[in-house]
């Protein structure tokens, strides 16, 4: 037995109307004989019999039929009888278009878009992926890129910190007793303060050690006092001890290149820099700033002094640019300029290897050639990344500073 179902007879036909049966129900028909006329949107078509036999008509004249609908069956008497007995439910029409029942619901996104919401963050897909991979929430990072964009380094330094923390810091709300909540004032961090905090957290990941010593700065002090008025008058530059210290630092760095370097914790390499940009930690009205004397190795002491003077002015006037605060290779913290300190321990300016703290020059009794003399003494602290350099190298570096600064004439010569 064969069924006659209405098919798409003309390129996209979905339905038709039974116009006229050309044979009677129960009549014998032959293969390919036209048995029914169906009218569609496009044409009246004759539908033929697929085989020879008796026809059993199921769609009435005038009936609307859809593609896939059964309209007749052809076969022997017995076949047709069996079929009608079992055809209580007319077979489901076959849809012309494949159904999409196999299409499943979409899975939940693996992670909601990091950092999208009321406080927007800006980051490239590469950085977003890195943050996802490292489990970092971009909302908790303020970017250092243009327009506050979060850069790869921002994510890495946060990740680095997180990795350095043995235990997670307890939630702030857990450590501040609620009973005091009325007695405190909450001050939001300024952008500068945030940046300082972030840098300090990064710095804290460095396993550090400190080397401290004193410099007999009597001769240096004399030179500065002697030359100060002339330099000011002729060059308009205020001469201090600091440019001499920087010059000596450059000499010490050239002799100890591992101090002008960074530690690459990913590749486990020491990145030694062949350029010498000396950062100067300075106190600005809105917090700590590091101004950078670029290419300090090619500058004279007077030129260094002029750079310091100009940078200091910009820091005070808050006109210093981002570029003038970036890319230092070694930092000097002039604690003495703040009016005190003896042996303090400054934080390394991440990702540098070391920082030199210099303190107030004071008159101190010093034993020289068996006699006690009152001398000008400059105490210093060299804080260094112990992954990169060892104590012996630190002492060597410190002794180089002493050598050059105790003999400023020699320093100017070399």
């Amino acid at each position: 037995m064969k069924e006659i179902r209405f098919v798409d007879v003309g390129e996209g036909i979905t339905e038709g109307r039974i116009q006229k049966w050309l044979v009677k129900d129960g009549e014998s028909v032959s293969e390919d004989q036209a048995v029914v006329q169906v009218e569609t949107d496009k044409a009246v078509v004759n539908v033929p019999a697929p085989i020879s036999g008796k026809i059993s008509i199921s769609a009435k004249e005038g009936a609307l039929v859809h593609v896939g609908d059964l309209i007749a069956a052809i076969g022997t008497d017995a076949e047709l009888q069996n079929a009608s007995a079992s055809a209580q439910g007319v077979p489901q029409a076959q849809a012309a278009v494949p159904t999409a029942h196999q299409v499943q619901a979409a899975p939940q996104p693996q992670q909601a878009r990091a950092g999208r919401g009321p406080t927007e963050t800006i980051a490239t897909p590469a950085v977003r992926k890195l943050a996802r991979d490292l489990g970092i929430n971009l909302l908790e990072i303020s970017g250092t890129g243009p327009g506050g964009r979060i850069l790869e380094n921002d994510v890495r330094s946060i990740a680095h910190q997180a990795a350095g923390q043995a235990r997670p810091i307890p939630k702030f709300s857990e450590v501040l007793e609620e009973s005091h909540s009325a007695d405190v004032e909450r001050i939001p961090l300024s952008q500068t303060r945030k940046a300082i905090a972030r840098n300090m957290e990064a710095s804290w990941t460095i396993p550090r050690a400190v080397h401290m010593d004193k410099i007999d700065a009597t001769a240096l002090f004399d030179v500065v006092q002697r030359e100060k008025p002339r330099v000011l008058q002729e060059m308009g530059v205020k001469l201090t001890v600091l440019p001499f210290v920087i010059k000596a630092v450059i000499k010490a760095l050239l002799e100890n290149p591992n101090f002008n370097a960074s530690y690459d914790h990913e590749k486990l390499e020491i990145v030694v820099k062949k350029y010498y940009n000396i950062g100067l930690a300075a106190e600005a009205p809105d917090g700590l700033k590091v101004a950078v004397v670029k290419g300090a190795d090619s500058k004279s002491i007077i030129e260094i002094a002029r750079s310091i003077q100009e940078l200091g002015k910009k820091v005070r006037e808050r006109t210093i640019s981002l570029g003038e605060m970036q890319d230092s290779t070694f930092t000097v913290s002039n604690i003495g300029s703040l009016g005190g300190g003896y042996f303090s321990v400054p934080m390394i300016n991440y990702p540098e290897v070391a920082i030199l703290g210099i303190h107030l020059i004071r008159d101190e009794p010093v034993v020289r050639e068996g006699k006690i003399e009152i001398r000008k003494v400059l105490p210093f602290s060299l804080v260094f990344d112990h992954r990169v350099v060892d104590g012996a190298e630190a002492v060597k570096f410190g002794n180089a500073l002493i050598k050059y600064l105790e003999d400023p004439d020699f320093l100017e010569m070399v």
Binding site: V7, V9, E11, D32, A43, V47, P48, P98
Partner: protein, 358 residues
């Protein structure tokens, strides 16, 4: 001064008229009774195939189909005039030529069932695949003819287009090109009077379509396209002189059926016109001729039709057993597999996009 620099004319040929009267003087020598019987059989087979394909389409067992009903003489006359070495370039309706040239029914049904595998036609048969965009096959035919001449092959190219096809630029470009290079091309206009719903008179103001060849400088001829003997002779003559150049033959016939199964000609075509052309049926007149000569009768007819049914059913069955493999789509784009295309295939396989369909 005005002087006539050119004068042209188109000859019309008919050998066997509607009533079955043969113009014996024009009958090609060597065309004996057996050959005419063979013409009758081939035309009848084409008609049987056509009816079956239409029936299959109405049952949903074929996609759109373009019937040839009424055009059997043009197709079989041309096909039988061709030598084995000659080549055939169709448009989309020359199933009659296909079967006469020995293309398996499997190929024809596969094409109309919607599978490219239908076009895997043995190159030995000298038959090129169906071409759907109207007249765009004519430049190919010119190139194929060019290649025959280039290689010094003893082969002519017979190419078909319709009356609507003569309005296409490609028709003229190809004919002009063939004329310039004197290519061994026999271009046949199968003028069935209708381009879907647009009648012949709306295609061209020219009195004949054959005369379009005069502008291209090729030989021209108009024949009764429902007279298989005339078509046979005209095409045979053109092939005979193909080495010297191109011939354009307009076969005047009639599309008794729809353009394709997606079309309904009753919407635009008067029944009277169809009735008039029924009187000029290409098969009936040969039947009349053969019966008058005592070469044919009802019994022979019934036997022949039974044989056709068996052959056709076998072809249909084979084509219906075909299971498509989507990989074949990817394997036959270039002579190599570009990585980007391979990636698309691999993804479909990996994701199982085709499971439901297969």
């Amino acid at each position: 001064m005005i002087k006539r620099v050119f004068e042209g004319h188109v000859d019309y040929m008919q050998i066997l008229d509607e009533k079955g009267n043969m113009d014996q003087s024009a009958l090609p020598s060597g065309l004996g009774d057996d050959a005419i019987l063979e013409m009758y059989r081939q035309m009848s087979f084409a008609r049987a195939l056509d009816a079956k394909a239409l029936s299959l389409q109405r049952q949903g067992r074929a996609v759109t189909y373009a019937p040839l009903l009424g055009q059997e003489a043009t197709q079989i006359g041309a096909a039988l005039a061709m030598r084995k070495s000659d080549l055939f370039v169709p448009n989309f309706r020359q199933h009659g030529v296909f079967i006469a040239r020995g293309v398996p029914l499997y190929n024809i049904f596969m094409f109309w069932r919607g599978f490219e595998e239908g076009n895997i036609i043995s190159r030995e048969l000298g038959v090129f695949p169906y071409i759907v965009p109207v007249s765009s096959q004519m430049p190919h035919a010119a190139g194929i003819a060019f290649a025959q001449k280039y290689k010094g092959a003893d082969a002519a190219v017979v190419a078909f287009c319709g009356d609507g096809g003569t309005s296409e630029g490609d028709f003229y470009e190809a004919l002009n090109f063939a004329g310039v290079f004197k290519l061994p091309l026999v271009a046949i206009i199968e003028n069935n009077q209708w381009a879907i719903s647009v009648p012949r008179k709306n295609q061209s103001a020219a009195e004949t379509l054959a005369q379009k060849g005069i502008a291209a400088g090729v030989e021209v001829m108009q024949v009764d396209g429902n007279d298989v003997i005339a078509v046979y002779k005209a095409v045979g003559d053109a092939i005979g002189r193909a080495k010297a150049g191109t011939t354009l033959i307009e076969c005047v016939t009639y599309r008794m059926s729809m353009h394709t199964t997606a079309d309904d000609p009753t919407k635009y075509r008067p029944d009277a016109e169809v009735e008039a052309w029924k009187q000029r049926d290409p098969i009936a007149r040969v039947g009349t001729y053969l019966r008058a000569k005592g070469l044919w009768d009802d019994q022979k007819e019934a036997g022949m039709q039974e044989g056709f049914k068996k052959t056709i059913d076998e072809g249909v069955e084979k084509a219906e057993q075909f299971k498509p493999d989507p990989k074949s789509m990817f394997d036959n784009v270039y002579s190599f597999m570009p990585q980007t295309l391979k990636d698309e295939y691999d993804e479909a396989v990996k994701e199982g996009f085709w499971q439901q369909q297969r």
